[in-house]
């Protein structure tokens, strides 16, 4: 196992420091679901294809280590609400060892 420790601030503002495996091809959205930090049906609705914005989060650290946004991610963030400069889609952030200590805050859920 090669886990990293990351901090996720949920939609109620509570911070959770959780373990995220880096050897299971997981993304941030899946880590949030694994630890049930947002109710089912309010996160990862499209399954992780950058086609809904339910996993939008604000990246509070390590921003320079994240991959560039793809066209699909930019496109989706264009249509999303509560978007800030540090907004990303959690499903597009893969868990890699370099992200040890990552801090993110989940964006409000909108329908």
């Amino acid at each position: 196992m090669s886990d990293i420790s990351i901090t996720i601030i949920d939609r109620e503002g509570e911070a959770h420091t959780v373990e995220a495996p880096t050897d299971m091809n997981m993304n941030l959205m899946e880590v949030v679901r694994m630890h049930e930090l947002a109710p089912e049906g309010t996160i990862g609705i499209c399954g992780g294809m950058a086609m809904c914005a339910s996993c939008q989060c604000y990246v509070l650290s390590h921003e320079h280590l994240l991959p560039e946004k793809s066209y699909e991610e930019e496109d989706m963030l264009d249509q999303a609400f509560f978007v800030k400069n540090n907004s990303r889609l959690g499903c597009q952030i893969n868990m890699i060892p370099e992200l040890e200590g990552l801090e993110v805050k989940l964006a409000p859920f909108t329908t």
Binding site: I45, C46, M49, M51, D78, Q79, F81, T110
Partner: protein
């Protein structure tokens, strides 16, 4: 009134395949879907995306999977109510169900199958607290009749294809068209982006970028929108307008199904997975992504399996006196309601003298 054996709510891959399994048992199906075309998410969200976990298909585009399913169920002549949402479910005295759509179409069947996936696709509404009180009083999320906007002033918000295309279209009808978008970049077809740029230069479209509509004004109906520039609350402008049309794409919602008295858990319908995927209302089943049970996987292939099992139980419900024996299509072939017949070629026994 539309009468059928199995009424399927949701025309995604699971709902479509249920038509095939039902057809093998000589049960007729009718499907209702909020989208104007069959295919559900596969058609609406990702038609051009490849799927790699459909058994027997190393790779298939979601759109092609839908086309194949439509071809596969053609012999069973399913009925469709498309672009219309299943609104209410009533149990009638004879034990059958009446499902009425939002346009008032009535459907009657002894068995109702909810194959609604993530729910019905509805326009994404911007998080403006007062927006609901202006709906149909100046605010619309869908343009049904462009003539409504003739000689009126219109504010459109959004940066995708539909925002661009409608801005172009309405620029010839409306008195004034403003297009508000959060960024300078537009992500639509290049033609549309160029056309909007051109129309903006000659003053036919009032292009407002790096801006967002954050509030709405008006006593009874909409009078004005409040536009915030550069995300700065001090740079707000009140822009008088007759209409505001936010176009931010579609997102799925469980919708009215959530009020049918079904047991809901984790935004999905609880079913009996030990037997037949029936819900807490006998005669109402839920299959595919819309259901939940211990160990549930939201995969298309699981939806197909659930469809087959559900049909056996539905058959027993419709014909309690009959005993059905499962048959293989390789042995029995497929006899369509349209008179078509598919079967394996028979070996010919002929002696050669």
């Amino acid at each position: 009134m539309i009468k059928t054996d199995i009424l399927i709510i949701g025309a995604g891959p699971t709902g479509l395949f249920a038509v095939f399994e039902a057809g093998l048992l000589k049960l007729k199906c009718h499907l209702i879907d909020a989208l104007p075309i069959p295919g559900g998410q596969c058609a609406e969200i990702y038609p051009k995306k490849p799927i790699y976990d459909i058994p027997g298909f190393p790779e298939v585009l979601a759109g092609d999977l839908v086309d194949n399913l439509m071809e596969q169920i053609k012999p069973f002549s399913p009925g469709f109510t498309l672009g219309d949402r299943a609104e209410t479910l009533e149990k009638l005295e004879d034990g059958t169900f009446l499902v009425t759509s939002s346009r008032g179409v009535k459907h009657n069947a002894p068995v109702v199958v909810i194959a609604g996936g993530l729910g019905s696709f509805e326009p994404r509404k911007p998080p403006i607290p007062v927006i609901s009180q202006y709906e149909d009083k100046g605010v619309a999320y869908i343009i049904r009749d462009p003539e409504v906007y003739r000689d009126k002033s219109v504010v459109i918000a959004g940066g995708g294809d539909s925002a661009l295309d409608w801005s172009i279209f309405l620029s010839n009808i409306a008195k004034e068209v403003s297009l508000v978008h959060r960024r300078k970049d537009f992500r639509g077809a290049l033609d549309s982006v160029e056309k909007v740029e051109e129309l903006s230069k000659i003053g036919k479209i009032n292009l407002i970028t790096d801006a967002e509509v954050v509030d709405l004004k008006g006593e009874d109906a909409l009078d004005a929108v409040v536009i915030r520039h550069n995300g700065n609350a001090e740079e707000e402008e009140v822009k008088p307008t007759d209409h505001f049309i936010p176009l931010f794409g579609l997102s799925p919602k469980l919708g009215p199904i959530g009020d049918w008295g079904l047991e809901i858990e984790k935004n999905a319908i609880k079913v009996d997975n030990a037997y037949d995927y029936q819900t807490n209302i006998p005669g109402v089943y839920a299959i595919g992504d819309v259901n939940t049970y211990p160990g549930k996987l939201k995969l298309i292939l699981c939806g197909f399996h659930e469809a087959a099992i559900m049909c056996q139980s539905a058959y027993q419900r419709i014909y309690p006196e009959k005993k059905y024996v499962m048959k293989y299509t390789t042995v029995s072939g497929v006899s369509g309601f349209d008179g078509s017949r598919k079967e394996a070629k028979r070996e010919v026994v002929k002696s050669i003298n």
